[in-house]
Amino acid sequence: MKLIIAIIRENQLDQVRESLIEAGIARITVSNVSGHGRRITEEIYRGQKVIPTMVSNIRLEIAVNDEFKERTIEAITRATESNDGEMVGSGKIFVVPLEECIRIRTGEKGNAAI
C-alpha cells in the first residue's frame, strides 16, 4: 500500500479530479494548503503589484494499493500537464509507503480497507 500526496495548482483541482475518476480512483482527501516552491504569482493591491510570500495550493492525499500507484501518478500528471506548458509551479507528487489501513466502520484492515 502506498500513500500518494500530491501538491497541485489551486486551479487544477477540477481537472485532476476528473482525470482520477476516469482512472477509477474515487477515494481522495483534498485540503487547501499554502507554501512556496519556485513559482512566483503576482497579485494587485491598490495599483501595486505584490508577490505574496505564500502561494495557495491544493494537497491531495490518496491511499492506494500497490498496483494502482502508477495509474494514479499518471492520471495526475496527465491532467496537470495539459494546461501549463513550460511554466514552473505545477507541483509535486510524493509517494510514501503505507504501513496500515483500517476501515473504521467494519474494522477491516490492509488492502481490503482501501
Binding site: D14, N32, S34, E43, S56
Partner: protein
C-alpha cells in the same frame, strides 16, 4: 422687540418658503429619496447573493458584475438613458429623446408632481443598474470582464431604455395598451422578464461552464447569499413602494403586498422542497423570497393581500418547476436568472389579473367606455409579455452575435479554470482560510 423680529422672521421665512418651494411635496420627496437609496442597496445585495453562490475562485468576479453595473449604468443613464426612457417619442416610439435630458441639464430646477425631477431620474436610474446586474447570474463564472462591461453598456442602451420607455413613459405604447395600459407597477416586464430572457439567451449563446453538469459546483458562501437576499428584501420596499412615485395610499398598498408576497413565496418554496427533497434548505428559502418578490413587482399597485399570498405561492411553485426542467434539459443558466426572474416575472404579470382590486377594474371599464374584464386585461398582459420577451430575446441575441466578433465574450479556457478573480482582477476573495 425680540418677538417682533422672530415674527418677522417667521413671516418672511414662510413667504420665501412659499415663493421658492411651494411646489415641493416634502413628504413625497423624502420617501422618494429613501426609495432611491433602498433600490441602490439592492445592488450590493445582489452582489452578495450571486457572489455567495459561485465557486471561491469566482467570488470577486461575480460581485464585480453587480458593482461595475453601478458604475457603467449610472453614467450611461445620466448621458442618454434618462432621455431615451422618459423623453418624448422619437423614431416612431422606439424610444424617447429630449435634448433637455442630455446630462440631465434641463432638470436642474424642475419639480414634477411635487418631487424634484433629479430624484425621479436617480430613482429610475437604479432600475437601469439592477437589470443588467441580474442578467449576469445567467452566465456567471464564464464571461470575460471586458466583454461583460461592453455587453451591459450596449444592452442598457438598446434593450433596457426602449423597453423602459414603452412601459413607463406617458407616451410609451405599452403604457397605453388596452383600457388602462399593461400593468407593470414596478418593473416585472421591464426589469425581471427582460433580464430573465436576456440571461437565458446569453447562457445558451455562451454555452455551459466547463465541467457542467457532471461536476457539482458548490456555493462558496451561503451565509453571504442569505445576507444578500435579506438586503434585496429590504431594498425591494424602495423598488415597489417607491414606484408609486408619491407618499400615500398606493405606497402603503404596494409596501404591504410586497412584504406578504415575499413571505408567502419563501414558505411555499421550503414546503415544496420539504415534500420533494425532505429538507428545507436556506437557499430554498432565499429563492422563495426572490420568487415572491419578483412576482409581486408588476402587481404591487393593483392586488390586495390575498392576491399577494396567491402570487407568492404560485410563483415559487412554478419557479421550482422551471428549475427542475432546466436541470433536465441541462442548459447552464448558472444562478437561475431566467428560472426565477424570467419565470417569476411572467407568473406575476399574468396571474395578477385574477386579483386586481375592484376599483381598478371599474376605472378601466370607465376608460374603455363600458366593460373591461379579467380576460381583456389578461390579453393585454400577455401581449406586453410577448413583446418584452421577443424584443429582449432577439435584441440580446443580435448584440451578443455582433459583440462576439469584436470582443470575445466567453472567458478563455485558462481563465475559466483559474477563476475570474485571479484572471481578470488579480485578487483573491478570501485570504483567511490559508496562512499567507
Amino acid at each position: 422687540m425680540k418677538k417682533i423680529y422672530s415674527l418677522m422672521f417667521l413671516l418672511f421665512g414662510y413667504q420665501s418658503f412659499a415663493g421658492d418651494e411651494a411646489a415641493i411635496d416634502t413628504g413625497a420627496t423624502a420617501w422618494m429619496l429613501t426609495s432611491t437609496t433602498l433600490v441602490l442597496l439592492m445592488i450590493p445585495g445582489l452582489a452578495m447573493f450571486y457572489g455567495g453562490l459561485v465557486r471561491t475562485k469566482n467570488v470577486l468576479g461575480t460581485m464585480m458584475h453587480s458593482f461595475t453595473a453601478m458604475g457603467i449604468m449610472t453614467l450611461l443613464w445620466v448621458i442618454c438613458g434618462y432621455s431615451m426612457a422618459f423623453g418624448p417619442n422619437i423614431l416612431g416610439g422606439w424610444f424617447g429623446w429630449s435634448p433637455d435630458y442630455f446630462l440631465l441639464q434641463g432638470i436642474d430646477d424642475v419639480i414634477t408632481d411635487g418631487i424634484p425631477e433629479y430624484v425621479f431620474a436617480m430613482f429610475q436610474g437604479k432600475f437601469a443598474i439592477i437589470t443588467p446586474a441580474i442578467i449576469a447570474g445567467a452566465f456567471a463564472e464564464r464571461i470575460s470582464f471586458k466583454g461583460y462591461c461592453i455587453f451591459i453598456a450596449v444592452w442598457g442602451i438598446l434593450i433596457y431604455n426602449p423597453l423602459c420607455h414603452w412601459v413607463w413613459a406617458s407616451d410609451g405604447y405599452l403604457f397605453n395598451l388596452g383600457a388602462d395600459g399593461a400593468i407593470d407597477f414596478a418593473g416585472g416586464t421591464v426589469v425581471h422578464i427582460s433580464a430573465g430572457i436576456s440571461g437565458l439567451v446569453a447562457a445558451l449563446y455562451l454555452g455551459a461552464r466547463k465541467q457542467h453538469p457532471h461536476l457539482p459546483m458548490q456555493p462558496n458562501n451561503l451565509v453571504m447569499t442569505m445576507i444578500g437576499v435579506g438586503l434585496l428584501w429590504v431594498g425591494w420596499f424602495g423598488f415597489n413602494a417607491g414606484s408609486s412615485i408619491e407618499s400615500g395610499l398606493s405606497t402603503a398598498q404596494a409596501l404591504t403586498v410586497t412584504q406578504i408576497a415575499a413571505a408567502a413565496g419563501a414558505l411555499a418554496w421550503i414546503l415544496i422542497e420539504g415534500f420533494h427533497q425532505g429538507k428545507a434548505t436556506a437557499l430554498g428559502f432565499a429563492s422563495g423570497i426572490l420568487a415572491g418578490l419578483v412576482a409581486i413587482t408588476p402587481a404591487a399597485g393593483v392586488v390586495q393581500p390575498m392576491g399577494a399570498i396567491a402570487l407568492g405561492i404560485f410563483s415559487s411553485g412554478i419557479c421550482y418547476l422551471a428549475i427542475m426542467i432546466k436541470n433536465k434539459l441541462g442548459y447552464d443558466d448558472t444562478l437561475d436568472a431566467f428560472g426565477i426572474h424570467g419565470v417569476g416575472g411572467i407568473v406575476g404579470a399574468l396571474l395578477l389579473v385574477f386579483f386586481i382590486r375592484d376599483s381598478w377594474m371599474e376605472d378601466a371599464a370607465g376608460l374603455a367606455g363600458g366593460t373591461w374584464g379579467v380576460i381583456d386585461q389578461l390579453g393585454v398582459q400577455a401581449l406586453a409579455i410577448l413583446i418584452a420577451l421577443a424584443y429582449a430575446g432577439v435584441g440580446t441575441l443580435l448584440i451578443l452575435f455582433v459583440l462576439n466578433k469584436i470582443v470575445p465574450l466567453r472567458a478563455t479556457e485558462e481563465a475559466e479554470m483559474k477563476g475570474l478573480d485571479s484572471s481578470y482582477h488579480g485578487e483573491k476573495g478570501y485570504g483567511m482560510i490559508n496562512p499567507s
